[in-house]
């Protein structure tokens, strides 16, 4: 049976056939036919955001919390350009997002029409792929292909630009099963020769370490399970990037904590001194490597990544394995077991002893004293009081993000949503909206700084409208804390524009939005405030006033290697050389 329908109806049908349940969007002239179709059905829920950037971040939060692609619907021109930051964020963090944008009618393209922008041109560099659909007959096939591209290989955002006349015209609908098979089929199985080489290196390693990243989480729950099995059975230590938290449990016995610029001392020292580094789904980002020429100088390096362009991009690796993490881990386990489950247990024991010594440094130590709340203390109390909940954490970007990564424990994947690659302030609030949509009964907390939070605070309206009880836990230091910290360390304590003046009264702001506002500034009242936030049945803004000049440690200064960490304020003097100051 052939099915004739309008382009607009086709879009809604294709989304349904792709299993889409939620769309985050904002209407406008060039998508009115699609909104008319959305109005006339009940299968797909549309969440009206307050700004298109918020729509993309919400879709990112939804995608990360579900391992399903997030879907965004925006209008032409400003609708599409407002989405660009979110799309770029999804590209950097490999999040599958399908953006549908309206476009002026085909016969007006190129005429500088009202709300016309060259959307495919603008988003070419920030999508995995994009399409301009010029006739209705190819529309449904393109949408199915878009979902395939977004979710296959290294995931990422895609965009389909749909002119308004294409939405009005009719053609035959192609269901996903009948759509043309895409030539885009990246291999998922790793090279067995390379896998055997890695197993051989693992058997001989005296100081091995697993360095895992967001690729493990993108690969799906099976990858996290296999990773746990591999870590438990080899007894190798494991560290992870910001993006990979939760793939291996934070309470696991081999866990060293996060690595990198604000990672834990023991994790960074182990990375520097190891003799075998096994990178699983991470990409040697500059926040991880520090000074590249002094990065883990004496180790053999293996790198498992589904994207061939990640191999040897920054760090030369000895054993590259191109493939999907779950598939490759399965093969590694198979080969390792078949060869007799060998490791150098004696050397491992002394390696662990060394690691235990590093742990004794207690690099996250801080002192909660006096009448002001230390931000670390606030997060630690949040951890204590929410640990037993079915909990999802989002963050904004800055000091609070690093403290959250250091002090919160993640025992499962897909529970931690943060903007890693792009570092987008304003990510957390809309992301929490998306996560809560996916998990309506769970506790969804956005750990925020007041400056980041203000960047997309309009999305509180979305949370209130759709009764999404997201908890906004704002560590308010009235500063752009991370900028301030760098100015203190690098720019002679000249705090150029890094304070938040004329801040709103967050309690009144919450009331204005129609949700609950709580303010706390005394350590003695903190627990009560957090409990009240959790207990309240609805969205909450908790304004937690914290110590204004707290710095985030440990820290690897820019342009320094892993073993040159700063541990506290005493050791920061003259720590950053002139060449390091160039890097951010």
């Amino acid at each position: 049976m052939t099915r004739q329908m309008t382009g607009a109806k086709m879009i809604v049908q294709a989304l349904k056939d792709q299993g889409v349940e939620v769309v985050f969007g904002y209407p406008g002239g060039a998508v009115l036919p699609i909104y008319d179709e959305i109005f006339q059905q009940n299968d797909i829920r549309h969440i009206l955001v307050r700004h298109e950037q918020g729509a993309v971040h919400a879709a990112e939060g939804y995608a990360r919390a579900t391992n399903k692609p997030g879907v965004v619907l925006v209008t032409s021109g400003p609708g599409a350009t407002n989405a660009v930051t979110g799309i770029t964020d999804a590209l950097m963090d490999s999040i599958p997002i399908v953006v549908l944008s309206g476009q002026v009618p085909t016969f007006m393209i190129g005429n500088d029409a009202f709300q016309e922008a060259d959307t495919v041109g603008i988003t070419r560099a920030c999508t995995k792929h994009n399409w301009l659909v010029k006739d209705t007959a190819s529309l449904s096939g393109t949408i199915h292909e878009a979902f395939h591209v977004a979710t296959t290989g290294r995931p990422g955002p895609v965009l389909i630009d749909i002119p308004k006349d294409v939405q009005f015209a009719s053609a035959t609908y192609t269901p996903p099963q009948k759509a043309k098979t895409s030539h885009y089929q990246p291999p998922v199985k790793g090279d067995m020769e390379a896998i055997t080489a890695l197993v051989e290196a693992m058997e001989k390693a005296k100081k091995p370490i697993f360095y895992t990243g967001g690729g493990v989480i993108n690969s799906g729950p099976a990858a996290s399970q296999l990773l746990r099995e591999l870590v438990e059975s080899t007894n190798f230590p494991i560290t992870s990037t910001l993006m990979g938290l939760g793939a291996y449990p934070g309470t696991g016995k081999n866990w060293l904590g996060m690595l990198g610029m604000h990672g834990l001392y023991e994790a960074n020292m182990a990375m520097h001194d190891c003799d075998l580094m096994i990178n699983i789904g991470a990409r040697f980002d500059d926040r991880i490597t520090g000074l590249v020429s002094a990065f883990s100088p004496n180790s053999k390096k293996a790198h498992i990544d589904i994207d061939p362009s990640s191999i040897n991009k920054v760090i030369h690796v000895d054993i590259p394995i191109i493939g999907d993490v779950a598939h490759v881990l399965e093969d590694i386990l198979k080969v390792w077991k078949a060869r007799g489950r060998k490791t150098d247990k004696e050397s491992l024991q002394s390696w662990w002893a060394k690691i235990e010594d590093w742990k004794k440094v207690d690099c996250l130590a801080y002192k909660q004293a006096g009448k002001s709340i230390k931000p670390q203390y606030a997060i630690q109390r949040l951890e204590e009081l929410t640990r037993d909940h079915d909990r999802y954490i989002c963050t904004e970007v800055g000091q609070h993000q690093m403290w959250a990564a250091q002090f919160l424990t993640f025992d499962d994947p897909n529970r931690w949503m943060t903007s890693g690659g792009l570092g987008t302030m304003g990510y957390g609030l809309p992301a929490s909206v998306g996560v809560q949509m996916a998990h309506p009964d769970s506790l969804v907390i956005n750990v925020a700084g007041e400056a980041s939070w203000l960047m997309n605070m309009q999305e509180m309206g979305t949370a209130v409208q759709f009764r999404l009880p997201v908890k906004q836990f704002i560590l308010n230091n009235e500063r752009l804390g991370m900028v301030r910290q760098w100015q203190e360390l690098l720019h002679g304590e000249r705090y150029s524009h890094s304070w938040s003046e004329a801040l709103p009264d967050f309690v009144k702001l919450a009331e204005a939005f129609g949700c609950r506002g709580i303010k706390v500034d005394d350590p003695a009242d903190l627990d009560e405030a957090i409990k009240e936030m959790i207990a309240y049945d609805g969205p909450v803004i908790l304004d937690c006033l914290v110590e204004k000049h707290e710095n985030c440690f440990p820290m690897i200064p820019s342009g320094e290697p892993h073993n040159k960490m700063l541990l506290g304020e005493a050791s920061t003097k003259d720590a950053i050389g002139a060449s390091g100051a160039v890097m951010v």
């Binding site: 495919v120 041109g121 070419r124 560099a125 995995k128 792929h129 301009l132 591209v149 290989g153 290294r154 030539h183 885009y184 990246p186 291999p187 790793g190 090279d191 020769e193 390379a194 055997t196 080489a197 051989e200 290196a201 053999k300 994207d307 061939p308 362009s309 191999i311 040897n312 991009k313 030369h316 000895d318 054993i319 590259p320 394995i321 191109i322």
Partner: protein, 186 residues
């Protein structure tokens, strides 16, 4: 490590195809990229080079399969071995890209470029230009009493050499196509 003693390039998709070390030596490579001839595909390729700071020394593109809508892009680029590997990997992950061939390392290849050169002048210089054109097997495709347009095909070096000789003889304009290349043999 014994398991690493795998002949490089022994299997086409083996990760061991990759070059062993980072080197600072700049190399020129000729890449052939087969793509779907769809809107914006050339912009994607060029955007990759400009966005990531790679060099393009020469670029040619034309549809080679009208029914299959495939185009072949030939790019001559310069970079360290690591950058060349990055360029190939980055090209390979563009969705409409079907094949990426490095003709410089995949065995012998023929490279040809076509150029049109306008030489103006009279008297001895005009006669000399015509004589040299004959030596270089350049054809005269347009002629007036005071000018020739020569058509020459060959390697970029041959065209450079011909243009250098024509310069003192009244070379006034040059148009070059850029390199097209194919691997030798089957």
């Amino acid at each position: 490590m014994s398991a690493l003693k795998i002949k490089k390039g022994s299997t086409k998709h083996s990760a061991y195809n990759l070059r062993p070390t980072f080197s600072d030596v700049m190399e020129a490579h000729t890449l052939a990229v087969v793509v779907d001839n769809e809107a914006g595909v050339l912009a994607r390729v060029i955007g990759l080079f400009s966005g990531r700071g790679y060099n393009i020394d020469s670029l040619t593109v034309a549809e080679i399969d009208h029914e299959g809508h495939r185009s072949r892009i030939t790019i001559v680029t310069t970079g360290t071995p690591q950058v060349i590997e990055q360029i190939k990997a980055q090209l390979g992950r563009i969705v409409p890209v079907h094949e990426v061939h490095d003709l410089t390392v995949e065995g012998a290849a023929v490279e040809r470029e076509l150029a049109l050169l306008k030489v103006t002048g009279t008297g001895d210089k005009r006669v000399e230009a015509l004589r040299l054109a004959d030596i270089f097997r350049a054809n005269v495709v347009d002629s007036t009493l005071e000018s020739f347009v020569f058509e020459i095909t060959g390697t970029p070096e041959k065209i450079d050499a011909f243009a250098d000789l024509m310069r003192p003889l009244g070379l006034s304009e040059v148009a070059r196509t850029g390199v097209a290349a194919l691997s030798r043999g089957q």
